[in-house]
């Protein structure tokens, strides 16, 4: 039975609530509290595509996922037209033609390089930085500076040095900073919250728009009459804890400006990796399936090695065409390794065995994928008495990675049955590798 929440109006009960639970009354003097900023690159992939193409400024630009399947980034002009995020490309082909939208296939090498430049430029200016995603980072605003002036300078320096437009939001916790960055995007790209402006903004801020509040949680909030951030802040913290556990309590505290999640400079390892792709057309050819799954396993293994990490579980997924009677004929298989591994040979062997198990004659398969989970750094794995993966192949594989990185493609690869990649849908609209390949650098006319 869920206890009923009694809602108080106004700001003071919230303050009382958080006095009770945190005994941190002094933090209420916001001028002394640590300010957290979130730097967020505006329409990052689109901005990368525009970096060497000033002719694309002000024009609608869309970036598609790696197999040209869905929209993954949109310029402001595209958002204004009304093209949604993650929409399949074939659905927007007409609008694209009508508005002369420029289309690009996702170009990860370019985006990674630009992202590295953005965050190195940021790190040169502030000490405590936590990169949160390819285009976002939290940082601590240094003590004793005028935060408005400081973040404006950070923004200006990143934009001029790298050429990528960014927004910065500042609050007293990561959650507040995230809210502030959303506000920043609506104006000139900077938004610094004060205790006053926050308590004002709270009143209208939909709780569902807050970082970490999904659709289901906001629905539960709504059943208790919590619609805005101010509503949530006004509930006594002990009641929030009873209803939503420690996660809810932390969320409330973060929204009240109490930092629960500090800026963690150590880059946490990704928890999982996934490589998956639809076939250019449906197939039941087991050789094609084996080749495709080996391709994904190779790429994941190389990514793991680049992270100096190994995976403890691997899942192989085979999806059948949703048309006809085949919807339920695909499946997935999970394999657990005793020793975390990044060994290409081990991953391919497991992946191919899984595909053999999953394969059924006559089913048109649409998509195959490999994902790995339980990623741990390889230098901290315990020794195992009975290892299930082969002895260390790292020397050979590292050499392979180096050669392939230099070549810019899979020049040397672990053998598989097919020597073609005709099953792959092509990324036809990929931009040149402006920053990672000499043959692709931009041309300037005199």
């Amino acid at each position: 039975m869920i206890p009923k929440v009694v809602l108080y109006g106004g700001w003071s009960p919230a303050v009382r609530g958080y006095f009770d639970s945190y005994k941190l009354g002094t933090i209420l003097d916001m001028s002394q509290a640590t300010q957290i900023a979130l730097l967020d690159c505006n329409n990052f992939f689109v901005s990368c595509e525009r970096l060497f193409r000033p002719d694309l400024m002000g024009k609608p630009v869309v970036v598609l996922s790696s197999n040209d399947g869905c929209v993954v980034a949109r310029s402001q002009e595209v958002k204004d037209i009304g093209i949604g995020m993650s929409v399949p490309y074939f659905q927007i082909k007409d609008i694209v033609k009508q508005h002369d939208v420029q289309i690009f296939s996702g170009h990860l090498a370019l985006y990674r390089d630009v992202s590295r430049r953005v965050f190195e430029t940021l790190r040169a200016q502030v000490d405590q930085v936590e990169q949160y995603s390819v285009d976002e980072a939290f940082f601590v605003v240094p003590q004793g500076v005028d935060s408005e002036v400081f973040v404006a300078q950070v923004k200006q320096r990143v934009e001029s040095s790298v050429g990528i437009p960014v927004s910065i939001g500042v609050g007293f916790s990561k959650t507040q900073a995230k809210c502030a960055s959303v506000q920043a995007k609506k104006t000139n790209g900077l938004h610094v919250l004060t205790a006053d402006s926050w308590s004002h903004l709270c009143q209208t801020l939909d709780v569902g728009s807050v970082w970490g509040v999904g659709r289901s949680l906001s629905a539960v909030f709504a059943t208790h009459g919590i619609r805005t951030v101010a509503d949530l802040c006004a509930v006594p913290s002990r009641q929030i804890e009873m209803l939503f556990g420690v996660v809810g309590k932390r969320l409330q505290a973060e929204l009240q400006g109490v930092m629960c999640d500090s800026v963690n400079q150590k880059r946490a390892l990704q928890k999982s990796l996934m490589s998956t792709r639809s076939f250019a057309s449906n197939t039941n050819d087991s050789a094609v399936l084996a080749d495709a799954v080996a391709y994904h396993a190779r790429h994941i293994a190389a990514d793991l090695r680049a992270m100096r990490a190994g995976a403890t579980t691997m899942r192989v997924m085979l999806r059948a065409s949703p048309y006809g009677d085949f919807l339920l004929r695909g499946g997935s298989k999970e394999v657990v390794f005793v020793c975390p591994t990044s060994d290409t040979f081990a991953l391919i062997a497991v992946a191919e065995a899984a595909i053999v198990d999953l394969y059924e004659q006559g089913v048109p398969y649409q998509k195959v994928g490999v994902s790995v989970h339980g990623i741990v750094p390889l230098n901290s794995t315990p020794a195992t008495l009975f290892p299930d993966t082969k002895p260390d192949m790292s020397g050979l594989l590292r050499t392979l990675d180096t050669i392939n990185a230099k070549a810019g493609s899979e020049l040397i690869t672990v053998g598989s049955r097919l020597q073609t990649t005709t099953w792959q849908a092509r990324s036809d609209m990929r931009s040149p590798a402006y920053t990672t390949r000499w043959s692709d650098i931009a041309t300037v006319s005199t």
């Binding site: 060497f52 193409r53 000033p54 002719d55 694309l56 400024m57 590295r116 430049r117 190195e120 430029t121 040169a124 320096r157 001029s160 040095s161 790298v162 050429g163 402006y434 920053t435 000499w438 650098i441 931009a442 041309t443 300037v444 006319s445 005199t446």
Partner: protein, 146 residues
């Protein structure tokens, strides 16, 4: 080719079985005067260090056209462009001019800042339209492969 050094050692026959001894002394022993530079380990020269001051803000572009030959910038040269350098009059810059990247010398004229060629027969481009024209970066070096 490995050199074999013969070292004679006197051993008491009953303590060492000479038939089974490992060829411990077959390799050249490290001896003699040590190289005086061993503690000064230096890397060989890397051309990148000479050309690039700020790696995070430096980009490379290739030149087409002949209008900057007066500044010894030729077609197919690779230019080193540093976006962190503040552009000033007199510098060679890469600029975006109505959607196109061009390399010109930034010069102060009576009517304002202009992008000038280093070859006769090219008109300077006035940067008065901030929407269509902006400085992309400052050229800090060039490289040419013959």
């Amino acid at each position: 080719m490995s050199k074999t050094t013969v070292i004679s050692i006197a051993v008491a026959p009953d303590t060492v079985d000479l038939q089974q001894s490992s060829p411990l002394y077959a390799a050249q022993p490290a001896a003699g005067f040590p190289s005086p530079g061993d503690d000064l380990v230096e890397q060989s020269l890397n051309i990148h260090d000479l050309l690039v001051d700020n790696p995070t803000s430096t980009f490379f572009v290739r030149v087409s056209g002949d209008s900057m030959e007066g500044a010894r910038i030729f077609a197919d040269d690779v230019l080193v462009v540093d976006r962190a350098v503040q552009a000033r009059a007199g510098m060679i810059v890469v600029a975006a001019v109505y959607g196109e990247l061009v390399v010109k010398r930034l010069q102060q004229t009576k009517t304002g800042l202009a992008l000038c060629s280093e070859q006769v027969g090219y008109e300077p481009i006035l940067i008065d339209d901030t929407e269509g024209c902006f400085i992309w970066g400052v050229v800090t070096g060039s490289a040419r492969v013959f």
